[in-house]
Amino acid sequence: MNPKLPIHCPACEAALKVSQLLCESCSTSVNGTFSLPLFLKLQNDEQDFILKFLLNSGSLKEMAKQMNISYPTLRNKLDDLIEKIKQMQTDEDLPL
């Protein structure tokens, strides 16, 4: 099983931050307060979408065929995602 990375607090829905990183090889742990990269703050399906877009060399037509949806439906999905990322960048002033 590959557990899903939680990005929101289950209690109050606020964005989660990373407080500890662990080296599996020597068990060294690093503590602090680190923000998640913007890509990881997206929903799983949105991350999958970006990966598929990249693997298809940005060809929406090819992606639409693979996903069995029409070109404008896919383009709308991409436009919505671009809008969401722009909004997240504006809200948090974060680079990708």
Partner: protein, 192 residues
């Protein structure tokens, strides 16, 4: 099945929609001339006693042109990425529900049934409704309403997919576009 009937634009490619829409449009013209059905307006279906192939084809072309003329600029205004092919396919696909009305006028059946009613409208006190006539009017009205609702759902879903419309002002523009397209089709049919 739900997507196929109400939002084929979401799933099917422009080539598939163009082929399906083109074939159904040709079928629509042929069957309209065989059943004497007028599609004299973007939203209209009327029954006559003689509709030639030429008239049916002309009305079909005017309906397509009217939708494209109105909905393409409206779509471009909402979203500059709106494509002509998506609006053209929309104009072909939305007429499909109306084709289900055509069997009512095989051998001019609906026309012959409704013509005496239309003639009697000038003197409503002489209107005679037989039980058979009431049943016919009730069933054909239900079918007509169903067809109209289906057409509007297809039109809205197709336009939504083509333009990615979301805002209320865009929905208002869509409603206005329906009215304007209907007027444009009527005017074009009148002057051409």
């Amino acid at each position: 099945m739900k997507t196929f009937l109400f939002n084929p634009f979401k799933r099917y490619s422009e080539q598939q929609l163009l082929l399906f829409g083109g074939v159904t449009a040709i079928f629509g013209v042929v069957f309209a001339s065989l059943t004497n059905t007028h599609f004299d307006g973007v939203l209209d279906t009327h029954f006559g006693h003689t509709v030639t192939f030429k008239t049916a084809a002309f009305q079909s072309i005017i309906n397509i042109v009217s939708i494209v003329l109105v909905f393409y600029p409206a779509g471009k205004w909402i979203n500059s990425k709106t494509r002509l092919i998506d609006i053209f396919n929309l104009s072909l696909i939305i007429k499909i529900p109306a084709y289900f009305m055509m069997p009512l006028n095989i051998n001019n059946w609906a026309y012959l049934k409704t013509e005496p009613l239309l003639e009697a409208v000038s003197n409503p006190f002489n209107l005679q409704f037989t039980p058979e006539m009431i049943l016919f009017l009730a069933l054909s009205s239900i079918l007509a309403i169903g067809v109209f609702v289906w057409l509007i759902i297809l039109l809205y879903n197709g336009f939504k997919v083509a333009t990615n419309l979301k805002e209320t002002k865009h929905i208002i523009l869509f409603i206005l576009a329906i009215i304007v397209a209907e007027i444009v089709s009527k005017v074009l049919l009148m002057i051409l």
